[in-house]
């Protein structure tokens, strides 16, 4: 029965896919008040398996939306990595311990929590802040684009026909997993070893089983495809994933292990002498995820798809882990995958349709990057679309999505390529064993990889929204030809030497500062909520010095005008924050210029704008100026994007540069 019914509607942003990338996009729309819909072909969110690793940077981002604390509380925290290798007699031994998160790079450490819980937190947050709801059991059917309307901000050049699969939840078939035959979840349906079970299959199943299908036509200004490795959206655009695949096959078991292996609650990389490698990822609720190598050659081996099952994976694990014992009563989920690294040739089309997450990069899961990089794709994209839709930002900022994120994807793929091969290879017996992998080299790669894996080292290139020097070749690609049209002779370039630990193009680091008005310590990043605001951070220096206070008064007049110029409704797109370095008790908030304590008729003064780098009563001294690398006497200005990345740094007298820079973005 196919009760085709035509309905048509308009929406500013249509998001296809409600995994972490899609939910992150929807969350930005919710916080910026954008009219958006998010659909997913599946009937429910994920309840087990899939991704679990969360980087420091992801936690910082989730905190900017107000729910990192829920992750932090429920997750397993990963503190130490233990490396296990064969000794000179081939016996497995612990050779090294290294910290899992490099101390000092973030206020968070890497944690592990099931993807389904992360999705729940997003859903709760959407419900709290908007009327956007994930519409499930809806699959895209056709996509059309009217290129003549691409550059008109009021037009809806995208037309998507959606199919509503209304008869119940479309669930993947599951196979049995526990040793004793009790049913458990099975990830094969999403694995690259299993047959595709994506949109086409869902639709075909729906038709075969005579589920009711209703067609709906949606016109959209923007479309974000977050629909996974087999992305329907990507295929409609004819964009290819480029890269390679090996024959290394790995199995995954989520179990409560029964074992005498001493480090089962540590993240471990285990290289056996002959039986392949294994990674141990301890998780929440006593679970441990094991990544277990099944085939030990890069090319040429074949494993029958049907022969892969939890028993077979467990047997491989036992050989790798010997002489330690391994068993389980409870298995939560299992899957198998082949290692490959691929990245899409393009991340967007027409400046209207964007791809994110697994749709544009696939790789091995062991470094715990997938969910993180996927969410960070749409974290990068969401505020830009919102800024354009709110009628103020130049559409050219949308080009920076692809330049910024495709570069990250390529780095990810290169990292994973190297790391996977080092991990899948046989350990060298000795220094003369050239075919084997040097365990010293592996350890070094692991350590270096840790900084990359934390997510805090992402460094966006020069562009219309990143005011740093760059090769001229990159200029056009990065969208700053727009400035030339505004009769400005030179691009604005920030002065990085004024804040030696703040890097233009990177996320601003965080140190503790005290609120001037109530002495409460805050981690600076906690003040940078993801609500669409750009922030001008005034490092005011020692304002107990009259000359310095004079500089601040002068600056504040320009800032007043700039904030007013970029008004958005009763608000502004710019928030001004101050961190000064004078002793807290020598400064009175109300002695500072008005812009640092805005007034409202209903609420009186705003006490949330001025902070101080001083000793707290209970949490020590944040040493923020030292941490940021800013001169405590003279200070500086820093312009921070709505996603916490730094656009520009300058002197307190360089407010004109901020005005010129923002003029290029909000032309």
């Amino acid at each position: 029965m196919d009760m085709t019914r035509k309905t048509a509607s308009k929406v500013d942003v249509l998001i296809i896919g409600a995994g972490p990338a899609g939910l992150m996009a929807a969350t930005w729309m919710a916080r910026c008040g954008i009219n958006a819909r998010i659909i997913d072909k599946r009937g429910t969110k994920i309840f087990s398996g899939q991704a679990d690793g969360l980087q420091c940077r992801t936690l910082e981002i989730l905190d900017s939306f107000g729910f990192a604390d829920r992750v932090w509380k429920e997750s397993n925290h990963m503190l130490e990595i233990c490396l296990w290798n064969p000794d000179s007699e081939g016996k497995l031994r612990r050779s090294d311990r290294i910290p899992d998160t490099i101390p000092g790079i973030s206020r968070f450490q890497q944690v592990v929590l099931h993807q389904g819980r992360i999705e729940s937190f997003f859903l709760d947050s959407l419900e709290e802040h908007s009327k956007i709801k994930v519409e499930r059991g809806i699959s895209p059917y056709t996509l059309a684009f009217d290129e003549t309307k691409a550059e008109d901000p009021d037009e809806y050049p995208i037309e998507v026909v959606l199919q509503h699969l209304t008869d119940g939840q479309i669930e993947p078939k599951q196979t049995q997993a526990t040793i004793d035959g009790a049913a458990t979840s099975d990830g094969l349906f999403r694995s690259n070893i299993a047959a595709d079970n994506d949109t086409d299959e869902v639709l075909s199943d729906a038709h075969e089983n005579e589920l009711t299908v209703i067609n709906e036509t949606v016109k959209a200004k923007y479309l974000i495809g977050c629909d996974g490795a087999h992305s329907w959206t990507r295929r409609q655009l004819g964009i290819k994933l480029e890269g390679e695949q090996t024959d290394f096959i790995w199995g995954v078991l989520d179990i409560i292990p029964i074992t005498n292996f001493p480090d089962i609650r540590m993240r471990c990389a285990i290289h056996s002498s002959k039986s392949g490698s294994m990674m141990v990822i301890p998780r929440e609720n006593k679970l441990v995820r094991l990544y277990i190598q099944i085939t030990t050659t890069e090319i040429g081996s074949t494993v029958e798809r049907g022969s892969i099952n939890p028993k077979m994976i467990l047997d491989s694990a036992r050989k790798i882990m010997a002489p330690y014992k391994l068993d389980y009563e409870y298995c939560d989920w299992w899957t198998a995958y082949q290692i490959g690294q691929r990245v899409a040739s393009n991340f967007s089309q027409y400046g209207r349709i964007f791809l994110a997450g697994d749709a544009v990069h696939t790789h091995s899961p062991k470094a715990g990057q997938g969910m993180n990089v996927s969410m960070q794709d749409t974290f990068n994209l969401g505020w830009k679309i919102a800024a354009v839709l709110n009628g103020t930002a130049n559409r050219s900022i949308l080009k920076t999505y692809e330049t910024e994120r495709r570069h990250v994807a390529q780095e990810l793929i290169a990292f994973d390529h190297k790391f996977s091969r080092l991990f899948s290879g046989r350990p060298a017996k000795d220094i003369m064993d050239e075919e084997g992998i040097s365990m010293e080299e592996f350890k070094d790669a692991f350590k270096k990889g840790n900084l990359f894996a934390s997510g805090v080292s992402v460094n966006y290139g020069a562009s219309i929204i990143v005011a740093k020097a760059d090769d001229a070749d990159d200029a056009e690609a990065n969208g700053y030809e727009i400035q030339a049209t505004q009769d400005i002779n030179a691009r604005v370039i920030g002065k990085e030497h004024l804040a030696t630990n703040i890097k233009i193009g990177m996320r601003i680091p965080s140190f503790k500062v005290l609120n001037q008005s109530d002495a409460r310590p805050w981690h600076f990043q906690e003040l940078l909520k993801s609500d669409g605001h750009w922030r001008i951070v005034v490092f005011a220096g020692d304002i107990s010095n009259g000359n310095q206070m004079f500089r601040i008064r002068t600056l504040s007049e320009g800032l007043e005008a700039l904030v007013a110029k970029h008004a958005l409704g009763t608000d502004s797109i710019i928030e001004v924050l101050m961190i000064h370095s004078a002793p807290r008790i020598q400064i009175e908030l109300l002695d500072l210029p008005d812009i640092f304590h805005p007034w409202s008729e209903r609420n009186g003064y705003d006490y949330s704008k001025v902070y101080v780098d001083d000793l707290s009563y209970h949490e020590g001294h944040g040493k923020a100026y030292e941490g940021f690398g800013v001169d405590k006497e003279r200070g500086c200005l820093v312009l921070v994007r709505p996603d916490q990345y730094v656009s520009w740094i300058g002197e307190l007298e360089d407010g004109g540069d901020v005005e010129r820079f923002l003029g290029g973005v909000y032309g």
Copy 2:
């Protein structure tokens, strides 16, 4: 219409009143699996006004139930107190700044959050952990007690007739509060200045308005009356509140202030030269609570009840705060009260009926103690009733509720008496002004009061559950005559010198320790969840030393037997935890005796029992042995009650004392 219908049912614990004290009692029952009901005469929980201050100790307790983080996130944190006094020319000036929470006494600091939010967190927690729901619109009607059944554990000696007011929510009448006449909440109905609007009135209203009333008879083993200052339960028992009342009248405004007073976001004590005193309590959501003195004499002044309104209170505040300005657009709530300090002659009857919270102690609200001491009453009581009902603990432990908590109430009343009078008095003009209050004396009182007000200084006396030396006179009252009947010559007395910063009778302090198995830092108190377990904390010392490990092996045999002896279902009433001081990487968990890594068929080893005092990767060194004052080589044993209070301290060889001590409790 009175559709009287008789139904009868049995319940183990009936709790009357669903304010903070009642909800805390219900939460214990939920966590210990006790069959309990909680009723409240009002139709809804509180949405504004009432209590707001939360001490450090209260946060520690809420954390033991798993939701202090919600309070911490939403609340306003109180860091600094500013004292404002007239200078020699009578002009108001800031004379002092003191920390609001004494640094180092707790991992939490005092915070402020509206009582209604606290109640919400309790309700969410009840829903998550049990089927106990607050039954609203239900009022007690008669209470009968069968004394012949008092000591029989299987009997239900209490019979209460309940009246169900089924027609909608019984809401208090409200008056208008904003200057411009917009309606707002008004706390007068609960104030001691307003007419009683308690159970009698609710019932009378219900009858007058022809609300349907259904009678229900409930038989209970235990009854907890948490029904407020006008406690119906207390009146049924004929127990009186003893104490006195002054004529000082204070007004309370919860407003978003519009003011140029510099410290409006600090907790402030303001003494004007002639116009009385005022306290500023900054709160969440830009609100500030102001306690404002209206009458300035202790006896003899009269203010017409009807003349008290927000405008009049605001006028008083303006006089006190002059020359600073004060105004508001938004008022959330207001009330007025007379200062008095009263405490009940008894806290319990028959060892079956208990009173807690405002039902047994009333005082001025300014020190932010009421909600805290009330919750701590039932935090003390709940686990004891649960332990008796679960069939293992001796009923005599229930006597310790009154001895432990009435002493705290008396201290509270003495503190409040002194503090209130210092605060309500006129500041001395100079050293010769003997009628005036010395501002130095006030500051000293404030500082000393801060330790008391934190809640961490509570020190329970010797009893059947506190193994410390005490006057013989106290013995019977405190319930340890029971030991004599067991042919034990002497009471067990702990050896406090073995842990110089752990005090028998006080809550165990907290320092960071690392989990042996995954290196994760935990604040020690986080491990002491409120789930009814006693904890034997084995400070194992330096177990990298063979002799010390020998002591631990010897101890562990005795502990195995002790834990098995006190089995409760498949669990035990005792949990054994270890904190050792050897370097973490020199110790392997599985080399320790079995009791430190209990085994289960389904889950394998338990990795949550052994901790180490060592350097963490990201959070420094907890220096726990130093903090607890325990010898790093030799260690000691500490027995902790289910409510985190310390029962006993001894040598690693003194396990026999623990057995004897617990034998007295669980006879």
